[in-house]
Every structure is written in structure tokens, then in C-alpha cells.
Amino acid sequence: MKAFEYAAPRRESELAGLFSGRPGATAVLAGGTDLVGLMKKMIVAPDRVVNIKEIASLYGISADSAGVTVGAVTRLDEMLDSADLDAFPAVKQAIRGINSMQLQSQGTIGGELCQRPRCWYFRNGCGLPTELGRMVERGDNRYHAIFGNRGPAKYVSASRIAPALVALGASVRIVGPASGEAVEGPPKNGAPVAQDGNALGEAIMPLADFFVTPRAPHQGETVLDPDQIVTHIHIPRDEQIASATYEVRQSEGPEYPLAAAAAALRIEAGVVTEARIVLGQVAPVPWVSEAAAAAIVGQAVTPESARAAGEAAVARATPLSQNRYKVQLARVSVERAILQAAGLETGGF
């Protein structure tokens, strides 16, 4: 690790002076399960590390009739233990998949969403994920993207919980230096809005919009600017939504899945009336499949309809030279997530 300064603010407002707008200059430390490893390999080498775990307002789970709000530094094991999250099986199933007690009780939800890509070229110091397109294309891309991979970004979004949260319509609160301009509604670009003349502003946006596919070096994997952080995640409550996450995991360890999908279904009178299907580990962002949703809406969930939704999900996949098998795994993930959400047997392991 390169030497760095360390700060541990205790209030959101104290963040204001700690961040630099220069990319890479400041790193946000939450659970550390990704950041510290990256710093050890000097893939990231910040001048300053800001530990946000001491900020009490970023911590904890609160629920009301509208939904559940989870602070960014809430640990994953605490989310597993929270009865407030029982209504969202997709989230708990995704956390359980991170099969390491240590990683669950050390990792935070904010960090889980903001972790960097697992792309092994990136992790081996070959450059930023966005600079590696040609290398990935010609190289060993067995774990890389099969969707959204036409641009330079060919890695897969690493977050294992994001597909579930996106499927459930979660939103994310971001704070950072105030832009000074008031914006109507949730800003698409994540620019925080000034609050009562504070130096910090906040923005709330759908989690689906939080993840972006970068087109050029130094564009991040999320909308976050270098001086912004995620503070909270909000999951809207809807008693009629059934949800599930299915991951194709080769082993019962903490390794990342080969493909995954989350399904959130509104089932009325035995028929799906609304669906949101989000694939994980297949694209640079959690991949929302409108086609899969359209295929299952209007149907009763059966092995056949689930399979058809899986097939619809992957119909337009664009696998790279070595990851055609992931198309099959993505199809099965969708199929099984839908079956699992509906409480049916998946037929596999």
C-alpha cells in the first residue's frame, strides 16, 4: 500500500472538506473488503482514505410504511438478521450467496454496490476497466460481459446485491458538494442538490440509474463523482411483490457467481401482472431485461413460462469469444429466479 492520510469523520457534514475532486485522490473506506485489497496491489493508490463507518447517520436499518431504508455502512450480516428485510427475499438470498461469514460481517451495503469490477485484467494492473476493451476482446473473457459489451467496457458489474435491489425498485441517496442548482425530481446525473445553503448537497435517484457503462477512461462504473458518496438505499415496500435471486455459483464459497438474476414479480390471481427481471454478472451494469419481463407478464409462472422468459432474456446476448456458455447460465438464472420467486422448484441444484 502507498502511504496515505486517514480520516474518520463522525457526521455527514464533516465530509465536506475531506474529499478532493481529483479522481483517485481520495478513497472512501467502508467495510474495506474490496478497497483494502485493491490498495495492497496498488491498483488504487489514494492520498487520503476517509473511513465513513463512524458516521452514525449512515448506519442502520429503518422501516416505515413506504419502505425500508438501509444506511450505506450497514453490514451485510445485519441486513441478513433484519426482520424488516424479510419482505425482500431477493436481497437476503443475494447476501447469503456471499458465502463467507467474514465478508458478510465486514462488508457493507454501500461498499457492496460500489465495489470495482472483478475483471482480471483490471485486477492484474493492466489499466482501468475502460481501457481494456481490446485486451478483453482478444484475451480470456470467460467471465466477462455478454450484454452491453459493444463499447470499451466489457467487464461485468461486480455487485451481487444490486440486481435484487434494482428489481425491487430501490433508490439511492448520494451526498457530495452542492451543485448550487436546484433540479426538479431525482437528478439523472446524480448532481447533489444544495440543502439550506450547506456545503453538501444530496441527490436521490433510482439505483437502476446509479450504475453506468463508462465510455472513456476515468469515467466510473457509477454516477458518483470522486467527491460523492452513497449514504442510503431505500427499498419501496410492496406486499404483493414476490422476489428471488438465483446465482449460478460453481462452489459454496465466496467466489463470484458465473451468472445471476433477480426477479420481482407481482402475482395476482395466479398471473404475473408486473415483473422486473435484472441479470447480474453479465454486463457492465445490473442488466434490466425488459424482454424477460414482457415474456412473463400475463402468464402464470410455470416451468415453461419461466423458461420462455429466460430465453427472451438472452435472445439478444452478444457473447465474446470465450463466454458463450454464460448465455446459457444467464438463461437458467432468469428461469430459476422466476420459479424461486413464485415458490416453485427450480429443478436444479
Binding site: 502511504a3 464533516e14 450480516d77 458465502n99 465486514q106 465466496p254
Partner: protein, 169 residues
Amino acid sequence: MSHVQAPEASVRPTKNVHVELTVNGEPREFLCAPRESLLDVLRNRLGLTGAKEGCNNGNCGACAVILNGVPVNSCLVLGVEAAGAEVETVEGLAKGSHLHPLQQCFLEDAALQCGICTPGFLVSAKALLDRNPDPSEEEIRLHLAGNLCRCTGYDKIVRAVQDAAKANT
């Protein structure tokens, strides 16, 4: 959450930090640079070499310790983060010469071979039994999946944890 620094000091970025904490029930202190991991600090500054560095990225669990009641991979925790914390390491499992039931069962069930993963497994297993005193075999297999044994004593580790759970109850 624990706080040892005044808010002002916590905001001012620092290069060297004086940390006070409790390790295996004993108050300890050290001065460290922010880049030193808790594992580095335990091993190099506090002389506790039970926790091992296996992979340095959270995948092997050889460095597991219990931090404020939960198991963590100490290679991924900064030493400065442990300010005010309670840390339990493998060295704290036995009470004097009286071994913890887990240690006893690991010995009797031959759940250790080269032994380098053993401290991490013991600490994780203790964290598991602290939370769940009577885990099923499947729960043991899933919950200890963050620990790696290459020799590999998996089968016997599962039995040892089961036996320790029985001995505890």
C-alpha cells in the same frame, strides 16, 4: 460504534495514529501508519502471530479475528479502524492451559494438518457458535466457507465443530 477520537481530530486527516484497543480482554495500544492492516499490527506490533496471511484479499480466512463481536478478515481491516475495538484472536481462545472446546475437538478429531489455516478456522467457528450454538452440518459447511484449508481437513473440521457444539451445550 466506538469512538476514541474527538470529532475535530477525527476529521483532521492523520499520518500516524495512536490506537488503543482491547485484545483478548487486555488493553493494548500501538502507534501505526494508516496503511498497516490490523493483521500487520497484530503480528508485527503486538506479537500475536496466530492469525496468518494467506491470500491478502479476503478469500482464505487464515487471518480471521473477531472484531467487536463479529468475524472479519484482519488483512482487510486497517489497524487504525480498530481504535476502541475489542479484538479476539486465536491466542485468546484458551483460558490459561484450559483449551476451548473447539480447540479440544480440533485436536481429537484430527481437524488440523499443517495447521496454518487452523487459527482462522477456530476463530470463524467460534464466531459461528457464538451466534448459533447448535448449527446443523449444512450450516457449518456454509458458514465456514470463507476459510480455506489446502491440506485439507474439511471433513474433520465439520465434525470437530459439531462435537464442540455438543460439548458446549
